[in-house]
Point group: C2
Chain length 359, copies 2
DNA sequence: GTTAGCACTCTGGCGGAGAGAGTGCTAACC
DNA sequence: GGTTAGCACTCTCTCCGCCAGAGTGCTAAC
């Protein structure tokens, strides 16, 4: 394959034909012939002329043939070009916007519910695999903490973040602590630490322990013990994957071998996080296609992802993954809108949000 | 196919040969020939003699041929017979017992963690799909309840069951309730209702509301409002499925069509619950093979399941599912042991359990 | 610059041949 | 009478050649 031709040097006709090939291929999943472009395209050229152009486009790296005498298939470069400068960025239909907003209502949902709903919406509306990278709990901002005695020395610790994430954790204390004392400790910790991230809190506690070691009374020692355990939650972000079974309907995955590699890829959460988080910087929707990264090229896959967060504080990424042949014109606005909606939902969750309608 | 021959009328040799066919088939996934039985079996008969017996076994409904001139494959009836009276019920190797016990330790895990771990263990140790039907929250026994103010009129309600299940729920109250009052209400509800199932509590609250409607003061009204919302949790049981991707390695699922039907079946949680709960009554391990039920016969599948619970109170079922050709000798003890271990873990969770070692 | 025409190439389906596996039956053997 | 060797038969699977169909590339004419 020759070097990629600078796309600005493509003539209007070249672009028109390339676009047609891409759109047709996205629909049909089969190599596109010159004849079909000639028939169905708008520029009334014969198949032979189209062929000339298509041969050029192949030479320039935008198309390829599975074999001689087959039609042509877009390359990753073609998709990139398409997305960057040929696509009509339709906005998402009102119906789908509504649907998303109705489902991502804050209501009585906690953060994890929202994550799952978002992942499911992504998958459902794109017919691809939906992926949401959830925030590492340690990076979330504390809203409230609460300790509940459950049995003997066991205490349930509930940590609530301002974005609606709730973490439960059972800890076992040195001695049995009476209920009233736990209440006092809960109040104290909530009042002192609300508004800071769990990581910051952990660090502050550590410093406190060192500095005040000498003059710590029993209650303070207890408090610190509880807090240390309670706040030591998930360093690493989680991943919510939904709709892997949509893959089984795609014609490009008709042999079990590929399906298997695919499923294995989606099971490797750590790797998914890494890839999705490439999209964290910069904001806006990013698209990885084929050769852009190790995983996607191995599997001939694409990833469309965008960060979400509260204010200018990024919390995670969400997006979809699937065979490179996907309806970018629809999916990009979808991912974009979902990112915005989820961000808004998280911001509202426990902000008091007085203007929300009563149910 | 003739009627199933009463299995007690099979001669020792018939049984020996049938057993050999089953064991070989479980290993190889390929129709078993008379020759291989003759060679590898212990009773030193020629292939021709074996053939005679195998023809009988086919006539009686224990074997079948995919086509003439293929070897033979066990039927569901054969598996049943095998399980019922030919299998050596090995106990689970100590190593695996240990592994299960180590992973199902109560420690700081809550009920849902245990469910997930159990499902994963089932899948991992059997190389089949692991399934756990979790208790409907309404059927669990209350250990403690706690309300935490999070923002404005929003209150987080935490319900803890004695078996370690924790349910979080955000509710929006009519008016803002001060923290101290929430604490008092939490204490009151925990003291009055601990030890009863959530369903019972809901019913009692309803009665209280009707009876005392007239003379209810503000606090009691608040309490009841909170309790009603807080205790109105999941009527229906959930399902935790793990290891569906192991299916992709099975030779019987080499075409995507079947894989798809399979995945669709495992996605239909309601149906799974229904099937698994057929195993609820009676206790002990139950095995459904092929024609035993609609789903398994459609997919040529088997289900090995057992109930778990605390005391004589069943809480749910757990088990594995996979192609009928599976290593029952190993899987049945596995499911059995996991049921026992999970039951024990749930019983210990918040019982105070003073004899457990410190971590 | 465009296009009709044609030779060329590659795929996919179909059918026949042949090997291989396994059976069922029969006749001989112990 | 049970057991087994031998053999014919059947069915699958694979390989191969053939052919139609689809699509291309090239050339020559418009």
């Amino acid at each position: 394959m020759a070097d990629l031709k600078d796309y600005t040097r493509l003539t209007a006709r070249d672009r028109e034909i390339l676009k047609d090939v891409i759109l047709t291929y996205i629909l049909s999943a089969e190599p596109v012939s010159s004849r079909s472009v000639s028939k169905h395209g708008k520029l009334g050229l014969s198949a032979a002329s189209i062929r000339n152009v298509m041969a050029d486009l192949e030479e320039w790296g935008y198309l390829m043939q599975p074999h001689t005498s087959a039609g042509r298939v877009p390359t990753a470069a073609a998709y990139h070009l398409f997305i960057q400068s040929m696509m009509e960025t339709r906005t998402l239909p009102v119906k789908e916007r509504r649907y998303i907003q109705d489902n991502l209502k804050v209501g009585s949902a906690d953060g994890d519910d929202l994550m799952e709903t978002a992942s499911h919406l992504l998958s459902e509306l794109s017919s691809q695999v939906g992926i949401v990278v959830t925030p590492a709990m340690g990076e979330t901002v504390l809203k409230a903490v609460d300790f509940v005695p459950v049995a003997g020395r066991k205490v349930l610790c509930v940590v609530v973040s301002s974005t609606g994430f709730i973490d439960n954790k059972v800890i076992e204390t040195e001695e049995e602590i009476p209920r009233e004392e736990l209440v006092r400790i809960s109040n104290y910790l909530t009042e002192s630490f609300a508004g800071q991230t769990l990581r910051e809190i952990r660090e502050r506690l550590l410093r406190m322990m060192v500095e005040e070691k000498a003059q710590m009374d029993r209650v303070l020692a207890l408090t610190i013990e509880l807090a240390r355990h309670g706040f030591s939650v998930g360093e690493s972000p989680g991943v919510v994957v939904d709709g892997t079974s949509t893959l089984l309907h795609k014609p490009e995955l008709s042999d079990v071998q590929r399906v298997r590699r695919m499923f294995e890829a989606f099971a490797d959460k750590a790797r998914l996080v890494k890839i999705l988080n490439q999209c964290l910087q910069g904001g806006g929707v990013r698209v990885l296609i084929g050769e852009d990264c190790e995983l996607t090229s191995e599997l001939e896959f694409s990833v469309v992802a965008t960060p979400y967060g509260v204010g200018d504080r990024p919390l995670g990424t969400l997006g979809i993954a699937g065979p490179s042949r996907m309806d970018y014109e629809k999916i990009i606005p979808l991912v974009c809108f979902l990112g915005e909606t989820l961000s808004r939902a998280l911001a509202e969750t426990f902000s008091g949000d007085p203007d929300r309608d009563r149910r």
